[in-house]
Symmetry: C2
Subunit: 581 residues, 2 copies
């Protein structure tokens, strides 16, 4: 077999495409598939149809042999029984790759399997590699090729995904796009009569545009080959798999769905462990774990600190962590003392760190570094304060309840523009001491507005000023101040939104500096977003699960001596810090 | 002890309220608590503050004894150490109930416990029952009393909830309201120094406005008393509990949070089983199960049919069902034959029922009754087709891709108004035969538009016409036809939205007739809504979990000989069918 790139490139980067079965009859898959190809692909597209002369304005050809130019890729949306013959015609035409969307092969029984064998034979003879049959198709970002049975939303991104279920695939693709990330390749691989799941994974592993590989597997044709090929992929990047089939009813359903043999689940579990594949338990978890790898560094161990804005969520989070083999360890005496300085006497005095309804909110943002700098802490779960503005919105409903008119002392402040200008100049000059001396007189006013202690706030500002990224966020907030004062108390939401970005940049900085993950959560199961990874995981349970997968992967890499840098797979740390500034 | 209603009524239905610690200083909980009380409660409200003369426009009193009128309920937002003395003053004043939001009692150690004992003593002497301490407060729908530490969103509804965690409580309340349901009572019960969790549950069980009871428990003070009281509640309505504490780290966190002893998890599990309490594993699941009880009848057994719009989701759903002790049983031969009539040859020929990409969508809606009418099937999971319009929106993005211009034969149809008028008259007259004879000539046109088979559609229409609710939905769709034709092809989305309501009404009818649950899901983890329960559960896993809890509760009721009617707790079937029509 040739190099995998040469083999599969014509599939993902074809110069021209024929849709066999394209039709103007909108009640057929040949209609929506052709429409889907036309949406993005910029190369030549040829509809093949025995009866129609034109399809959606394109000249149609009776046979692929009639197409006057070369065709790299053929997409089949015709009845199964006609495919062997047309595949032979494709071979004659010099087609290099194919996608067979049509069903009616091995999943239907012995006759179907024989039909499938004839398709494979025709393709092999012509040197054609193909996706499917019995699949929904594929999407390739590099050519914007949507060889798919209906117009699926697309968004380019760092994920590659091969799914043996079309609906599971489509749902994960849509959910990923809703979370602000996207795909470099997505394949609904169907019955894998020719190209195997491990072939796609091998191909994705070679591609520098792919940062994380997802797969949904119903059954493998050759477990040994899978382990061999995928072991080479997992030392390059994370591979996350969803594989049902633990129960008899499920194995039965798999046979009639993809025609695959589900196999003994324990053997799969063993194979995945051997190959370093991370296992997910649901389509939702598959995506959660992918997002986690894209947004977090790999932690050095299993010891977790929890900082929580709500005691009961600290309780639940501790439970989920321990249930996922993470350790909620005791904090050293000096850290307890340090927290005594910034929290009220009623704080939890341990891990989870719970300030117990403290209104000195700024103290929460001092806490992450106080635990992350400890050698014995490998990761942080930061609950309920990753996004202040969102929480305020949810709780308040009517903002005016919280944001009473500003005190006259503030709205009538003269010379604000001048002070702001001088602070910005000081920040730009890099003179931190001067910046602090200009900001410090204002701290008590702002602290009183936010209900915070001025001393804590001064320390917080020093922390913010000490690093480039957070300093530039502070500059942005400062320059907005005159406008915010003009707009009165309702502008507080705007200030809090700016503050959210400051928090995000602080958390990113800490992740980068310490090479340890910070999994943030809110308390509500709202749609999380990749941007402002500050609340990438909505629930304590999800936070614990994804964190345990980061640990598992790092332990695997260290075991096979392939660990390099905790930040290697963290797409956001490596690529997208810009959006914060 | 008196009757529980007499004991707790002054708490949930007070005539007047004093907020001890109310303040105009917006950085204190006394500010936001007072604001919260003012939002809804219509009785007299008195701020008590030693230093302020007025609070938010209300005359403030130095002591509760200074209030010129009777005070039924006192809300404490003052430092813990002052509470024993003020509680004595409340007793002298004749206050009947209290909510102690303040923390700093047993959760802080021995001194705190002693302080708590003094509060209890003062309250007992004065006959005052109280919530807390160390809690967020409570909400009562009957008096719109928001005795809560910040303005929480409220919505009246059939749920009662007592939570030993304020943040878990607030998050579940907000999530429930987002799902379109609401609360009759919500209590953040804190350290339960006086009123115990089982007291609240006993009180809620007596209240006919409450259909389902939720609780989050960190630790019980008296397990035997809990079992005794709650056993009496669970024969009246479902009680669903979230109780962490399986792990040591969690038990440790509980001690410093609520001061409760987490106890041995196995004992709790046994106690819950004995008392018929349904156990949830997360705050999200607590609400999922509640919504399920409110929207579904109790199934007669564990045998499930799955109908799926996507084979891979059928596979996953079968796995989740079996993992939750539900049986995905084989279908009888005559049902397989019946499906052979309406599905293409490639359909799955078994359970899960997967038509494998059939475009004859109407057939999916024939399928539910074909399985529900079987004695051996106890429940249905209906995947991916509970909401057609939503799915179309998600997939298409740009509607115009799917909805090409209507054929001229349709837009130029003369006499449409007349035909529509005659159909409506026939429906109103109850003459089903005549209605069918008027509709049948139009069926081939509509079927071709939807890509469906005309014969299946005729059968579907007969099914719809045979029942009052679905018939009136069809009437609504028919009367919209002229307008839809005027608006052209883009109006197809409108037709599909109407069709969704028709499907919902069909599913509700089947649930009512057969007394078996139909759990619908979409394939995306989007926010589910209670209205159009057609997609109440977004994932296959959640569908299986909640269904298993319905079975568990019915089995309990039958074991203790308290089972009456499968539809008894199904709030939607009993109360809200109107919204569909």
């Amino acid at each position: 077999m040739e190099n995998i790139n040469q083999e599969l490139d014509p599939l993902f980067n074809p110069r021209s495409v024929a849709v066999i079965g394209a039709t103007k009859n909108w009640n057929k898959w040949g209609y929506s598939t052709f429409l889907s190809v036309l949406q993005g692909f910029k190369g030549n597209v040829y509809p093949i149809n025995r009866n129609e002369k034109k399809v959606l304005g394109y000249v149609a050809y009776k046979k692929i042999g009639d197409v006057p130019e070369d065709v790299d890729l053929a997409i089949f949306v015709i009845p199964a029984e006609n495919i062997p013959e047309v595949m032979e015609e494709c071979a004659e035409k010099g087609v290099k790759a194919a996608v067979i969307i049509s069903a009616g092969f091995r999943e239907t029984g012995a006759e179907g399997r024989e039909l499938e064998d004839r398709v494979v034979e025709a393709a092999r003879k012509g040197g054609i590699r193909f996706v499917g049959p019995n699949c929904m198709g594929m999407w390739s970002a590099s050519s914007d090729l949507r060889a798919y049975m209906f117009p699926l939303p697309t968004n380019p991104g760092p994920i590659a995904f091969v799914s043996q279920g079309g609906n599971v695939g489509a749902a994960v693709v849509m959910a990923a796009i809703n979370r602000g990330t996207g795909f470099h390749r997505y394949v609904s691989c169907g019955a894998t009569a020719d190209i195997q799941i491990e072939d796609y994974i091998e191909y994705f592993a070679e591609d520098p545009n792919v940062k994380v590989i997802l797969t949904y597997i119903e059954g493998l044709n050759d477990g040994t080959r899978f382990i061999e090929k995928v072991s080479k992929a997992t030392i390059k990047k994370p591979v996350i798999a969803l594989k049902p089939g633990k129960t008899e009813a499920c194995a039965h359903a798999i046979l009639s769905h993809s025609g695959a043999i589900a196999g003994v689940d324990d053997l799969y579990d063993e194979a995945f462990k051997k190959a370093g594949v991370i296992r997910a338990d649901s389509p939702e978890e598959l995506l959660d774990i992918a997002v986690c790898f894209l947004t977090q560094p790999l932690p050095p161990g299993r010891n977790v600190a929890i900082i929580t804005g709500g005691g009961s969520y600290g309780v639940l989070c501790a439970e989920y962590c321990e249930s996922n083999d993470l350790n909620v360890i005791d904090l050293p005496e000096e850290t307890i003392s340090a927290f005594n300085e910034i929290f009220p006497p009623r704080w939890s005095h341990g891990n989870p760190v719970d300030p117990a309804g403290d209104r000195n909110f700024i103290a929460y943002y001092m806490a992450p570094e106080m635990v992350l700098k400890l050698n014995e802490i490998d990761a942080l779960i930061f609950m309920g304060f990753g996004s202040i503005s969102g929480i305020t919105n949810v709780i308040a409903g009517d903002d005016s309840m919280f944001f009473r008119p500003l005190p006259p002392s503030l709205t009538s402040l003269e010379g604000v523009d001048d002070v702001v200008h001088r602070i910005i100049e000081a920040i730009d000059s890099g003179d931190i001491e001067k910046t602090e001396s200009l900001i410090n007189p204002i701290v008590p006013i702002v602290a009183s507005l936010l209900g915070s202690d001025p001393d804590t706030m001064s320390k917080f500002i020093s922390m913010i000023l000490s690093r480039d990224i957070t300093r530039s966020m502070l500059k942005k907030i400062v320059s907005d101040v005159p406008d915010l004062l003009m707009r009165g108390a309702s502008a507080m939401i705007g200030v809090l939104e700016e503050f959210d970005k400051l928090v995000s940049s602080l958390l990113f900085t800490l992740m980068k500096v310490y090479g340890k993950p910070i999994i943030s959560t809110t308390f509500t199961e709202t749609a999380p977003s990749l941007h402002g990874a500050a609340h990438a995981f909505p629930t304590a349970e999800k936070a614990a699960v994804v964190l345990s997968k980061l640990v598992e992967y790092r332990e695997y890499l260290e075991r096979v001596d392939a660990f390099e840098d905790p930040r290697k797979y963290c797409f956001i740390l490596n690529n997208q810090l810009d959006y914060l500034i």
